[in-house]
Amino acid sequence: MLSVRFAVSAACCYLCACTSFVRAAEPVDFERDIAPILLTRCVECHNDTEASGGLNLTSLEAITAGSDSGVTLSAGHPEDSYLWQRVSDGDMPPEKQGQPQTLPAAEAELLNQWIASGANWPQDRKLDLFEKTNAVRGGRDWWSLQPVTSPEIPAVDQLSEDGNAIDNFIYAELNRQNLTPAPPAKSRQLLRRLYYDLIGLPPTAEQLADFEANPSLTAYEQQVDELLASPQFGERWARYWLDLARFAETSGYERDQEKEYVWKYRDYVINAINEDKPYDDFILEQLAGDELPNRTEETVIATGFLRLGTWNDEPNDPQEYKYERLEDMVHATSSAFLGLTVKCARCHDHKFDPIAQVDYYRMASCFWAGPIEPRDSKLLGGPTSEELGVDRVFGWTDLGREVSDLHLLKKGEAKHPAEVVEPAHLSFLPALAGPFDPPAENATTTERRLQLARWIVDEQNPLTPRVVVNRLWQHHFGAGLVRSPNNFGFTGDQPTHPQLLDWLATELMKNEWKQKPLHKLMVMSATYRQSSLHPQYEDHATADFTNRYWWRANRRRLDAEAFRDSLVTASGKLDLSEIGGESFKPTIPAEALEGLSKKGAAFTPSPRDAQNRRGLYIYSQRTLLDPLLMTFDYSDTTLPCAERDVTTVAPQALALLNNEFVHSQSEELAKRIAAQSDDLDNQIELAWRWALGRNPTDTERATAREHVLAQRQEFEEHEESELNIPLFTELPQQSELVLHLRADRGVELDDDHRVKRWVDFSPDGHDGIQTIATARPLLVSSAINDQPALRFTGNDQFLELEGQVLDDQHFSIFAIVRDENTGTHREIFSNWNGREGNSTTSVFLGSTGAGTIRLSDDFAASPPYPDSSDPFLVVAINSQYDASIILNATHEARKNSPLAPRNLSTPYVIGQQGNIDGEFWKGDIAEIIVYNRALDDVERQQVEQYLMQRYQLTPEVEKLPPNLLALASLCHVLFNSNEFMFVD
């Protein structure tokens, strides 16, 4: 599994390069024999900018100047030449990563002969590391840097009659390789492929059936046009760009601050794709939307691209961190738009591509004029709204038209600044090279980014169109024509179909950089429409296992978002009503929240309905990415990601088998089915149609029937066994019970029917007492589902408890209450006494005006809060490990550490804050139970059950009957199937 990729590619090139060395008995020729050796083996470290050991081997003049160790070349005398001595000793070239790099004998011999024969070096010949591709690196003649050609469409004999030009290129190559294309895909497979490809959603059973009935090319084309015009197209394809742009909505690191309004950038991308914004404009806006003459709010939003990287508000050295930020921007820009690894030239000339170190700094200089200096961390490294010129936008701009000098850094280290860098175009495209113009007279920015962007979109820049059409191909077909989409350099892959790549690039520019025509061209091709199966599979797979020549379509596994969206589609809940807007937070299992370091920062999921939007809209928090998406190879978000991994690992199977979300979707689908029909055969058919888009076969029907019936029986038995758990007639947990107040017993009233004493039924006897008549709550006999409760007016009414209720830091509190939200804090149970110094360390349980439940100052949680008319059970537990608040035995919020130690010794009260006479409860309190220990989950559930039953409260968890659960089980199996997960 260790990567051998580079070793292999280098070895291949090396073999080619060597052919020039094996000529015999001819006089040594500098250009033919010696220059390649020096360029390949020596000049990397012995050149004008880096002259290791004082030795520069790039020109006659330099080589004559010698080195730190003396004379380099003594013409005619290899033995006196330092160069030869080091080579023959095997010291040079030096070993690399522990591997000797000794010169092959043939090369050494040539070198020796050359020196012996007088070391002829043409007078003006200057060796340039980048001049030519050789065995170990790419030069300016590297394929991807050459102008885009307009290749002729090859003529092919046995073309499929309904294909297009793409097929000519593909079939011509297949012919050369003695391969044949697969037959056309079956109509249903084709339509399903097209849907997932273009909109990331499955077609309905009806759409599939219609198309199957009329699978003509015209019908297909109509589908293509409709899908390309659908808003879901932008949602699907935006995701690919967001991965490339390293999109996430927080900064990462300790505080992981939210990047407010960054979702507008996501919407910008969706809209750009849906409107088919020309790709050159798309680039100009993202790099320089603030500098454009026709600048709008939208183009400024686009500059968010530059700020999407991680951002550390507490770097080790803020001055050095500036250069990390530059690297992030250079890397994102060059990866996304150019498919080059410019960042590799930060510390030295690029090791493999003709990118000089100064080129890195030239690109970096474009971002140097922005807010790169350390400033107020609230700005998250960006400009203020004033500087940006728009409000509520997460964008980038220069802080003026003047900017301090950027120095090239030796070894990329801030400590070692070298010469000042002149802003200029990168040098590897000589036709477009040259320094930047100064900003226009009326410009408020440096206009460097604008010039960089214009250089990128210049039609003479061959990388830009090639890189983007390759990405389109990659996503439509499952792999690029260049299989390293972000690396068109020497260590990347070479194109399998260079002519086709150029033809597509030319088409893109002919279409004024509009991409939809290219999308259409690709999906209309016969190559796209072929089957993923091939009659001569064995032979073809032997010849071309990875399908580089496209002799069949690639079968593909659903990616994370398409998988999630497919589940929600099947359950009938998918909400497509709104394109864009703020993201939603998914429900994340408490276990997965444990990785967060922030105390008390309970992750609050969005309401369930909001979670029915597409996976694209899931909030991506860098320190906590959605575990379900992560399981299915969601992008890492820290670096530009051109291609997600596609793994097939056991945790995916575990998620599909057990994950709560997957089960909930199965149950939703079961309910959807049951609402339509109560006949099992019909239900089975609907399950197949909604989950898989087709009718079941007879065998499948039979198996499904058997499964549902067996599961029904199993679930009935299970339900019965659960029913056999006895109802609790008595409070099920007695150990460490320290307070038990219930309004149906032990309430002593005064003449006004007000409560003067509430007797505690725990062994401890902490009775609640109120001596002042006006401060006594009323006893209402039928307050909560026909049960009595104490009614508090919210006005100075409360009870004092006798004695110290708690003496253990771990405790559990249960209360049956009804709450009239007064818009301010109000307490059920409290020992607050600021005079005793426990204002921040007291214990209290109550609610806030904001609709949250509070367990002391440390922990506020916001489960869906009941209306004032609805009684509810609130439970708060502080354990050794964590604290939790649970409402109606349903909604649980957990803080992943216990409360800080509490002062337990001050007096306890019911119905207000404590000694401050404030935060009075308004509403009913029917029962309070307190334990001097943390109940575990099972114990807690028993007490909950006991109370919920007595007060006729129902947990909000909907429990389906066995017949529906059995149907859900069937749906669940379908979701688990390979048919669901793979697209043919």
């Binding site: 507490e314 906590l624 198996t703 199996v973």
Partner: protein, 486 residues
């Protein structure tokens, strides 16, 4: 040749014929389901195959250690109070650190005077290795420890330094040490994750996920968070009504569906891989809870680890779970002591005595028990135990007369034991104040190179091709610390 039994779903004759050459239909799951007892008590060794990136594999050379237990003291313990005795601090007590010592004052906190160790140091074992009274139990194992006193790192801030200790760089997005390890060596037990992280109940480390991320590598190599009780990983158990029998029915039906599907798709190795992944998932459901089931351990063992008593219970459980995981073939286990922020971690800004007193008391006995246990089971030779924080602390107090110490990335101590490490030695030195590493400096990349080396991996050869470059854990740095090798 087996005929497709289920769902020919409209195969035409030609497809039917292809299928004759393609016979796949997974039978292993059926066989397994037929075994008596739905939940096997002990995990079976999963069949390895070449497409499994986590398959157990050879390193670059035979390594002494087969697995690693990394005891991460989150928040950064003070070296001069634990493993780097500086008697000269007595002499200089109350004086400032000399002005020629340059440093970043992390967080712009108060700067006080040089302050000696808060608890005395005493020699331990035959080696007489000096360890302070914060670690009396670990001290009994002095002869097993190689204390590296000259560690240094690249950031004074927790967030970046934690990420650096785990990934080699101060910025997020790179694969962690555990990821590199399982990338290089795979793991022995396919029924459990190869790289497990056990957090402190008080919370995760600052920066969260990137600390155990696989960065630009496949997510397969990412660390798996493990809870030390019950269901240790996510998605191990479905809702209550999905009883073992109900799940069996589901899997049987699933197998039939998948068999029909793959039968019509010759060459479906991707499909077969996914079918196989269900077998593994099925085994993990049993293997993972079994691995954390401490009831299988004797009372004596549990007591030795401090389980059932405060304050050692939690870390004791984690240490015992770590041993059980390593015993079951897990490659890399990282345990966090401390979670969240400030005094919930070793981040002793206000009081070394109070903070380290608490945290050391939580971990001292469990760590000692772990070393004893590994040794008694003959596992210590093959298990590398690493102890350390993300940086160290200053030799001066945080404010005049104060008792806390601020962050110090310039010099700190870590130790290793077992797995090919020489015991009872120290390596490297800090200056006379214990402020900065001076002799045999050990950068965190050197620590990483050394750990990989002990596992049989060459840090320069262990590369991952990403974005045009052969990336490695140590990048262009890293040196194996030969001085601690047994």
């Amino acid at each position: 040749m087996k005929q497709p039994q289920y769902f020919p779903c409209g195969l035409n004759r030609r497809e039917w014929l292809w299928d004759m050459g393609g016979g796949f239909a997974g039978t292993a799951l059926t066989a397994m389901l037929a075994q008596s007892g739905f939940f096997a008590q002990h995990a079976l060794a999963a069949p390895t195959n070449e497409t499994n990136p986590l398959a157990d594999k050879e390193g670059h050379y035979p390594g002494k250690a087969k697995s690693v237990i990394f005891l991460m003291m989150n928040g950064a313990p003070s070296q001069v109070d634990t493993f780097d005795y500086k008697p000269t601090l007595e002499k200089y007590a109350g004086q400032p650190l000399p002005e020629d010592k340059e440093y970043i004052n992390s967080g712009g906190r108060k700067v006080g005077y040089l302050t000696p160790n808060f608890r005395p140091f005493r020699p331990g074992g035959e080696s007489g290795l000096l360890i302070s009274d914060y670690f009396p139990e670990v001290r009994k194992h002095a002869d097993k420890l190689a204390v590296i006193r000259s560690c240094h790192t690249d950031s004074h801030a927790h967030g970046s330094a934690l990420v650096a200790m785990n990934t080699g760089k101060t910025f997020i997005g790179r694969p962690s040490l555990g990821s590199w390890t399982v990338y290089g060596l795979g793991t022995e037990n396919q029924n459990l994750p190869g790289y497990v992280v056990l957090l402190d109940k008080r919370g995760g480390p600052i920066s969260g996920l990137p600390n155990w991320s696989s960065g630009f590598m496949s997510g397969t190599f990412q660390g798996t968070l493990f809870r030390p009780a019950g269901n240790p990983i996510l998605n191990l158990e479905g809702p209550g009504h999905i009883t073992p029998a109900a799940q069996r029915s589901q899997l049987e039906m699933l197998e039939k569906l998948n068999a029909g599907h793959i039968a019509a798709r010759p060459g479906g190795s991707d499909l077969q891989t996914r079918i196989n992944s269900y077998e593994l998932a099925y085994r993990m459901q049993a293997a993972a809870p079994e691995a954390v089931d401490l009831t299988e351990e004797s009372d004596a063992t549990q007591t030795a680890y401090g389980i059932g008593t405060r304050p050692t219970d939690e870390f004791g459980r984690n240490c015992l779970v770590a041993r059980r995981l390593v015993e079951r073939g897990v490659r890399f286990v990282q345990l966090y002591s401390g979670g969240g922020h400030l005094d919930d971690t070793w981040d002793a800004h206000t009081s070394i005595e109070k903070n380290h007193g608490q945290h050391a008391a939580e971990v001292d006995q469990p760590i000692a028990a772990l070393l004893t246990d590994l040794e008694q089971r003959g596992m210590l030779d093959e298990t590398l135990v690493v102890w350390g924080g993300e940086f160290g602390r200053m030799p001066f107090s945080e404010g005049k007369g104060a008792e806390g110490r601020n962050h110090n990335p310039y010099g700190f101590s870590m130790w290793m034991a077992g797995g090919g490490v020489k015991g009872g030695i120290t390596y490297g030195e800090t200056d006379e104040f214990g402020f900065a590493a001076t002799v045999d400096k050990a950068h965190i990349s050197d620590i990483h190179a050394t750990i990989l080396h002990l596992l049989g991996l060459d840090h320069e050869l262990l590369t991952y091709f990403h974005q045009g470059r052969e990336e490695s854990l140590t990048d262009v740095t890293g040196r194996v610390i030969k001085g601690i090798m047994a």
